[in-house]
Amino acid sequence: MASSKSNNRFGTPFSPALGLRFLLLAGLSILLMVVDHRDNHLDTVRKAIGATVYPLRVVVDTPVSAWRWVIDAAATRNELQLENSRLNTERLITRARLQRYSSLEAENARLRAMLEARSQVHERVRVAEIMSVSSDPFRHVLVVDKGTRDNVFDGQAVIDAEGIVGQIIEAGLLSSQAMLISDPGHDLPIEVNRNGLRTIARGTGEYDRLDLPFLPNNADIEPGDLLVTSGRGGAFPAGYPVAIVESVTRIPQEPFAAVTATPAAALNQVREVMLIWSSESELSDDEVLDRAEETMDPIAADPVIVDNEGDENE
């Protein structure tokens, strides 16, 4: 081989301290892993190293964004017009729906006020782009281009246009990692939209399947049922679509039915996701209004869907 006489210029035989050094580093690794697995004391360490990884991510993302820029720049006038008219139609339809929605929302708020329940309608949404997807096929984690500088926080819900995508597990300064609901380690409190039956949806490691392992055989659930977030557990705001029940298998001898569901969000196709700030997760009621007003402007500069109030006023 070409490397047979490589390193003799230093004249040193390889150092006897190698084994010692290895043992030291191995011990340090094990310590890190144990601490990291137990709790989140290592967040600052991760963030510090994450800062060095950020340039790498940008480099990785460059060809993709450059390609998209080329596509955008090369779009003909005709295509743009077509897209424009399509988007206009879509906007009209959405606004029509929204009209109905806002009256419903007002009604809902009134009813809740009568029940003296805390209303949960103030939700702020912001678009984030996906920078990369975990290269480990057994962990469904993606990296989005918003971090604590944009007020992203650990545990924040991530959605796309169709439904729940996952939640932020690690908010860095400029980018954050989000775990998908299909990750085998992800449990999501849900309810059946039809009858309010509450249970847990567990990721399976496949993008197009969730398991509902804790439903008894006599549970009222059938294929085609829409599953929405129940809001229990606090991480996710209630009422977002999660999945549609695909199959229900009841085996008489088993205590639980085998129920699988197909996620509503296209988990392996998303390029852009939305982050939700539901005001109650962070702020008290008094702060909500102040906050909603002061945040309108800086957000409006970015591609954003502003909160419900903004849409109503139009």
Partner: protein, 161 residues
Amino acid sequence: MSDARISSHLPIIFSIAVALLLSIAPIPDSAEPFRPTWVLLTLIYWAMTLPDNYSVGSAWIAGLILDVAQGTLLGQHAIGLSLVIYVTVKFHLQLRQFPMMQLSITVFALLALYQFILFWINGVAGVNSESVIYWGPVLTGTLIWPLLNIVFVGIRQRARG
């Protein structure tokens, strides 16, 4: 002297950075299980040829960066990489004498060892990875090794000249 040494190290550090890039670059889902462990392959070569400069320490740091980049348990890749590089450095004199075929087989064993350590840690930490395709990177890594070797020899000659 020291300037010359720094400049001769730059291409090597650059190659490790490129390996890190390749291990986080987005590729299609179907190809994901067969993504070679670029960082380990790169480190094996440099640990084999320049064990005085690149050994367990460099491997550990690269592993820590990999852990953060991939969102795995902090220290998981670090311990895997440093163990395999420890073995590589320990036997680097023999490895240098091996013909390509034999070297490839050794690399296969090293990659399998690495993947096994990660598998084991995943198991302890409760991350499910019980599937045959988990071992895909071992195969693709071995297959790509001879090619990678040519690239690295080129880098080394340039670094010296």
